[in-house]
């Protein structure tokens, strides 16, 4: 059996789903639970091809509800477990992940968004933002990283395991069908050789006795009274808000003097980046803002940008799901909001350029 999945670092050419499987191996994940759904299938395919070579395991469950709960079971037994899903599978996954929030069970879920609602398309969208950030019957006590390329899929999948186990909130890596199936080069590496330390897993259930005394572990997702629940959720929310600044990540450039700032996330932010660069070359005052964590959202960072800009152009492959997060984050700002919403469809840099010029023209006409 090979010792380490990745020795040193190397430049490779892969699909995004393969990247996730390799990243989970690099992060020392021990078991994947899953149920097939396009466009994330090859995460399972590659994990099942790679896993036996490195003494790792896989369980195909009967559906995503079960995949989510068995993932949590694996974690409670002390295993570094993860799962992956998409679309309607993500809908089912919200029930187990709500339990993870309530019981503070670290868990990692990779989502490759497809078109919605329901079965819709197997291809692509950014329509799982609301569900992934605030799904389930709770308060959205979770972390969501929205990736834009294969290097980030690798880096953030590894990071998600540490985030989950460090803060004990379910952690999602939110990709999409384009990232899943697209092929591009990236550098894969052994994280520990780069100095990254993994947060150790621990056995929650069936712990060995300490000095002959068995320590009870009481994890609850059921409470008897309103007050009891209120006290727990208040404490969890305080903890969440306290660690949020450590977790929040975003990228921005050219915002200092920008009249219009393009706000986008995930794969769409690649088009936005090219559009902003092109428009800058033409001499237009355009900026770029991209939340990497959609939950917690980089609200303070965006507020600063909104305070200087005249207009935020919100661009996403959904009908305003990121826009809701933005509006919540910048509440009180008087910045104008424009949008380019294309639910379930990819967005090109050309389309963003055209939209920015329309807004510019409108502003001049006033």
């Amino acid at each position: 059996m090979a010792e380490k999945p990745i020795q040193g670092e190397k430049r490779v050419f892969m699909t995004g789903n393969e990247v996730v499987a390799w990243a989970a191996l690099a992060a020392k994940a021990e078991i994947m639970y899953g149920y097939p759904i396009t466009p994330q299938n090859e995460i399972m395919h590659y994990w099942t091809r790679l896993a036996p070579k490195f003494g790792k395991r896989f369980l195909q469950t009967e559906d995503e509800l079960s995949a989510g709960f068995t993932t949590l079971g694996g974690v409670l037994a002390g295993r570094k477990a993860f799962t992956a899903t998409a679309g309607p599978g993500n809908t089912l996954m919200q029930e187990p992940m709500s339990m993870a929030e309530m019981m503070r069970i670290p868990s990692v879920v990779i989502i490759q968004q497809r078109g919605g609602p329901s079965t819709a398309t197997v291809i692509y969208s950014q329509q799982e933002v609301t569900m992934t950030t605030y799904g389930g019957n709770g308060e959205g006590l979770r972390v969501v990283y929205s990736t834009a390329n294969h290097q980030e899929l690798f880096d953030y999948t590894i990071k998600a395991f540490n985030t989950a186990w460090k803060y004990r909130f379910p952690t999602f890596v939110l990709g999409d069908g384009y990232q899943a199936k697209m092929r591009e080069s990236l550098t894969i590496y052994d994280p520990e050789e780069k100095g990254l330390e993994f947060v150790p897993t621990e056995t929650f259930l069936g712990k060995a006795p300490v000095n002959g005394v068995k320590q009870p572990v009481h994890l609850r997702n059921t409470y008897n009274t309103e007050e009891e629940l209120y006290e727990v959720i208040t404490r969890y929310m305080e903890e969440y808000l306290k660690v949020a600044p450590e977790i929040i990540e975003h990228r921005e450039f050219s915002c200092e003097d920008a009249d219009i700032v393009v706000v986008s996330h995930g794969v769409v932010s690649r088009a936005a980046k090219v559009a902003v660069q092109e428009l800058r070359e033409e001499g237009l005052k355009i900026g770029y803002f991209r939340p990497v964590t959609l939950r917690p959202f980089p609200a303070e960072e965006l507020k600063k940008v909104a305070a200087r800009a005249k207009t935020l152009l919100l661009v996403e492959s959904a009908f305003g799901q990121m826009a809701k997060l933005v509006k919540d984050a910048i509440f009180g700002s008087t910045v104008a909001l424009e949008n380019l919403f294309k639910p379930g469809v990819g967005i090109t840099s050309e389309e963003i350029v055209v939209r920015v010029k329309e807004i510019e023209k409108g502003a001049l006409a006033k």
Partner: protein
């Protein structure tokens, strides 16, 4: 209009290999190259796992060059990709077509089994099955893994070196691929049919042979226009 080439001299090639190894890109390039030689060429999209994605977006572009493309059209189907696997009758009988036939066969080992569904594939004397390999893919980045992988695939007549790193490709990397794949070919007792290299390196490599003496074929990138 058909029958320009006698059946005995026609080229029938199936491109198989690891998912994302470049089968479709190589198959398309091969079809275009043969068409440029004035031959009659049929290109078949035989990815039954993702039957609607591979060549569909560039079908019209290829058809305009005179290649006969057998692939699904969006308008012919419903529930893209969710409707299960299916094969066009035209695909099943495609070896009955005259002229050169280039088969793009998707999805690794399981995909290779699709040849069982093609009428006449088992006893077709012209049929050559080539495995497309890229050492930039970790599952096939060394001699041992390549040998094991190719042995899983059933009948194979040759290997194709398609080593690259997308936009980060260098001539050195392609040559490194030639070394590894030629060594694997020796172990397997198979020929290396060609090394493919992006046309942008034509003058840098400045040779008709790679470092191991395999023929070089210049590659134009079509699949960047297909999304899937």
């Amino acid at each position: 209009m058909f029958g320009v080439v006698p059946v005995s001299e026609r080229i029938v090639e199936a491109y198989i290999g690891e998912y994302a190894s470049g089968k479709s890109e190589i198959a398309v390039n091969r079809a275009v190259d043969l068409k440029k030689e004035g031959r009659h060429v049929t290109l078949v999209d035989l990815d039954l796992v993702e039957p609607f994605y591979t060549l569909r977006p560039i079908k019209r572009q290829l058809t305009e060059t005179g290649i006969y493309v057998v692939a699904w059209e969006t308008s012919e189907t419903m529930g893209l990709g969710e409707a299960g696997s299916l094969i066009k009758p035209e695909m099943r009988w495609v070896l009955r077509r005259p002229g050169d036939i280039i088969l793009d066969i998707g999805y690794g080992v399981e995909g290779a089994k699709v040849l069982n569904l093609i009428e006449g594939a088992a006893d077709n004397k012209n049929l050559q099955v080539f495995v497309v390999l890229n050492i930039g893919r970790p599952m096939t980045d060394n001699v041992k893994d390549i040998v094991e992988y190719v042995k899983e695939l059933g009948i194979v007549h040759g290997l194709i070196n398609n080593s690259h790193l997308g936009d980060d490709t260098s001539v050195d990397f392609v040559q490194q691929g030639a070394k590894v794949i030629t060594e694997a070919a020796l172990v397997l007792g198979l020929p290396v049919i060609a090394t493919y290299i992006d046309r942008k390196f034509e003058f840098e490599i400045n040779s008709k042979m790679d470092i191991k003496g395999n023929p070089i074929r210049l590659l134009d990138r079509y699949m960047t226009n297909t999304f899937w």
